[in-house]
Symmetry: D2
Subunit: 327 residues, 4 copies
Amino acid sequence: MSFNARTDLALEAREMYFENSQLETEAEGVAAEEQECDFGIKVTRVFVQNEKGRQALNKPEGTYITVELPDPNETLQEAYEEACRICSLELADLIGKEWDGTVLVLGLGNRNITADALGPKTVDSVLVTRHLLQYMPEEIDERLRSVCAISPGVLGITGVETGEIVKGICDRVKPGLIIAVDALCSRRMERINNTIQLTDTGIVPGAGIGNRRMAIDRETLGVPVIAIGVPTVIDAATIAGDTIDKIIENLKINAEENLPLYKMLSVIAEEDKYGMIKQVLKPDYGDFVVTPKEVDTVVENIAEIIANGINIALHEGVTLDDIDRYK
Amino acid sequence: MSFNARTDLALEAREMYFENSQLETEAEGVAAEEQECDFGIKVTRVFVQNEKGRQALNKPEGTYITVELPDPNETLQEAYEEACRICSLELADLIGKEWDGTVLVLGLGNRNITADALGPKTVDSVLVTRHLLQYMPEEIDERLRSVCAISPGVLGITGVETGEIVKGICDRVKPGLIIAVDALCSRRMERINNTIQLTDTGIVPGAGIGNRRMAIDRETLGVPVIAIGVPTVIDAATIAGDTIDKIIENLKINAEENLPLYKMLSVIAEEDKYGMIKQVLKPDYGDFVVTPKEVDTVVENIAEIIANGINIALHEGVTLDDIDRYK
Amino acid sequence: MSFNARTDLALEAREMYFENSQLETEAEGVAAEEQECDFGIKVTRVFVQNEKGRQALNKPEGTYITVELPDPNETLQEAYEEACRICSLELADLIGKEWDGTVLVLGLGNRNITADALGPKTVDSVLVTRHLLQYMPEEIDERLRSVCAISPGVLGITGVETGEIVKGICDRVKPGLIIAVDALCSRRMERINNTIQLTDTGIVPGAGIGNRRMAIDRETLGVPVIAIGVPTVIDAATIAGDTIDKIIENLKINAEENLPLYKMLSVIAEEDKYGMIKQVLKPDYGDFVVTPKEVDTVVENIAEIIANGINIALHEGVTLDDIDRYK
Amino acid sequence: MSFNARTDLALEAREMYFENSQLETEAEGVAAEEQECDFGIKVTRVFVQNEKGRQALNKPEGTYITVELPDPNETLQEAYEEACRICSLELADLIGKEWDGTVLVLGLGNRNITADALGPKTVDSVLVTRHLLQYMPEEIDERLRSVCAISPGVLGITGVETGEIVKGICDRVKPGLIIAVDALCSRRMERINNTIQLTDTGIVPGAGIGNRRMAIDRETLGVPVIAIGVPTVIDAATIAGDTIDKIIENLKINAEENLPLYKMLSVIAEEDKYGMIKQVLKPDYGDFVVTPKEVDTVVENIAEIIANGINIALHEGVTLDDIDRYK
């Protein structure tokens, strides 16, 4: 099988590797670990260790941490706090050692389209301190680190590559660390709006749309870039392909009574199903990207969790100094 | 074939009748006419004339007019004005003769979920005059008719059936005509956000979700009820089913090289495909309803067109420019 | 002196009585008590006991409770929780005994004008349960009471008196208690957006604008009506009058060097200053009502406090965390 | 008299010069011309010609054009179009000769506070073309010029001086002309939300608040900077001072019966009234800046007019209808 649905999640790239290879072992150059936490939260860490891993998953070398929240609308205070805490710990881990200077948080995406507004909404809740430390340092709690935060807009709205704007700002602000937050694309409806990916590989804004864009990463900006994202959209072709898969799987379970149909569908599954679906849908839909109807209410909640994860991770002593993580 | 995708459009119910019956003639009790207008706008009128027609299309007896706009984001002033004009003419036709007393415009749906906010957004642009005619009649242009407009909210937000709220308001306001605007569900992605349906059969708020709700129609309220809607959502099962159809259709065209696959897929198509897909998707997705990512920008435009269609239709001899003057 | 600045707060009506009468004792028919709480929160209860009290304060007979929050943007979790708790206790006190049936919460005001959106925003955060108790009672926590909540809009937007809409809804829903939330007008800039008034006298929507409107109170609706409000606007004439007062007061303190000026200004103060200012301002400003520039960020916070005060007061033994779980 | 109310309008600085000097001739180094246009629109051009003019008006040397709209909510299509047209003509005049390269439009101010959102809202309606000309030049109407547009946020939100962000972006984009749009402060309530000032002197973001900020002007950025603004706020002290003035003026007219009061108030007027009021108000209000309650609905309209003025001025031979086509 060679199902190549569009996804920004390393977690799903790994899933697809297993599906396509029919193997149950990790690809060479890839390692992974999973952890179940309280409140049904699940953490998966995928490590793309070298060029071979990169080819297997089609993702740059680096660490990809996925935090899956069972219900993004869960508002039980403790579950919410645990989600923030886990995000902050994983983020702190990714950052690794101490950084020098200011942290620049980037809210990527289009503020006017809800499904794309995760970045700007997160930035709205990030604790910004750089100007206070600069203009009134004596009045500021000494545990606070210097943080600034900008939502640079998108190419279609500003007329300028996001990477260019960010480069210009970096040249002036000279941050020691960048955290870029953006909406992502998933291949599974069940991950939409409830999965947070953190990675140390940076990000290419609007990459999903197929254009070649300037990356926001260590190479282009000269400082470490952590990218945090949540899948908020899925393309129509993926929904269709996913459904055909599920029908096949379902038929397999009830194999006896459906045997002929199962065989037939397997034929499709053996072809490049996703490519075929894309081609068939193209004349009418082009790249039809969809999002759940309720996206408005969910994006707000998950942006808040990410912002607090960032806030706790960056400011010393605000972090929970819990050694036994995720008990 | 028995493809029963969920749709609120009579136009699509008729399409499905043709597909399922393999006939090219209208069902008994159904009549229809189509009209091409300027700027690529297309008007289709479907008449469900009696009980037989009702059964064939699974839609109440009455008239269903569909105005299809080639590009809902087209903002060429003349195309926009033509769309408003066509809506107003079709609406005036549906209303038929003169009505007595106030017109009550209802903006159904949830204002906080963009894909469901068509009704409230339309109401925001309707020219409301009832209070002016009541409190300062001498200052008001005599061509203006009495119009009031309310967005009653949705059951999940208010805790009260929308039909109950509307009934209570009608008992006080005693309108002579009701126009209810609501977001609809389509079975075709290409109709999402660019098709306006006007009907004299009224509406059942939130009917799509499968619950039994109190209708907003002539029977329950005692006055004519025109319903105006735009499909803004599509369910995931429909996208999947639609895609399988397109694959089959595509294979049919290139029949020779794909013959075996075509036959196989036709087997699925002969089953109750939609039901099967729903069943397969259920455990993971439930009723997963999606909307295009760009819904935010489109709903605003089409709500404006509907509101101006209503404004022009209700107030005698009043033009778009006049309307602006009163707002 | 007879300073008659426009105010919706009984607390300020009482202040004005003291100023105008030059007395330090309560008016006949008026009683009051003050209480300092944690986090700088202050509660004042004014009781208008009879017709004499009504004339003295120009407010209907009843109880008026004012909760003053030192900083509405205070985001310390405990201060926020204390504000919610105090609101819920005072509200429970006002309601007094048990009520029968559903509680109807009304969000009065215009959702599209921030300074007027307090009611609709509060309603957005009220825990609505009536439909759950009606359609799936066995699944609902037995401590939950039946609550429904509607934002009926304003006359200028709907074309229908708010009182008419509410009456129509009450006739269908038949609530046992009504809580109406609305934005108010203050005479003191320092109370804008940080003072919550709760009263058992009901409310007249849009009363401030000078029109005679249908009241939302026990007399018109037949059930108890609690009104909750926050001053979000002040009129320009009040700011001017207030300033002249402050200049006078200031001159009084430094009386010796400013003696002649003090005398002069006192002449104005002895006239009907507010009336004079209104008359002078009228040709240019009419009823120019202003609100602080930052109103957007504050209204959200205080609406949340009121909503949670309502949520805790209505549902027996329910805490802030429980509420989150049901939303 | 020495009334020094806070204002960002050169028009009002000139008014104050006349009031304070009691002269009816222009200050040395200042010239001005007024023009009445259709639909009650009034254009005033104030030229600060040299250092003397600068001192007299306390405004940098340059040209200040004020377009006063009689009613910002006037939506008669022709009046709206005339307002756009006049803005575009005056802007073209200010720009003067042809520029080279891209135009960078800056939307200054805080998007989340309505009274401060004029800049970001204007940018939302500016026709952005730079990316189209860069990536698909052959498909673009040759009359279109290269325009990009960014809303850089405010210091309190981003933690970075707006001027720094703009400088960084300019270093990458290298524009040939900058147009900066921002909300202003007026001293007259009757000018709030209906007066557009265009100037070639640039702007200091957040200057009103009293801090020393990095200017956005030719000197700091090396290219011409046009600033466009609309007063949306007024400070409480100005309203008070303005009222005392009006009382005095009013008394002057009816001098005989009010003679003693007139004399008395004139004493205040002879002092530094604004300073005195500020001082008196300070302990309670600090810098209490207010905006009309209806600011939400007005800012949207006037931002649209400015955006279209910019669109028409920048793109040769392009009309309002053409612009709609490209958006």
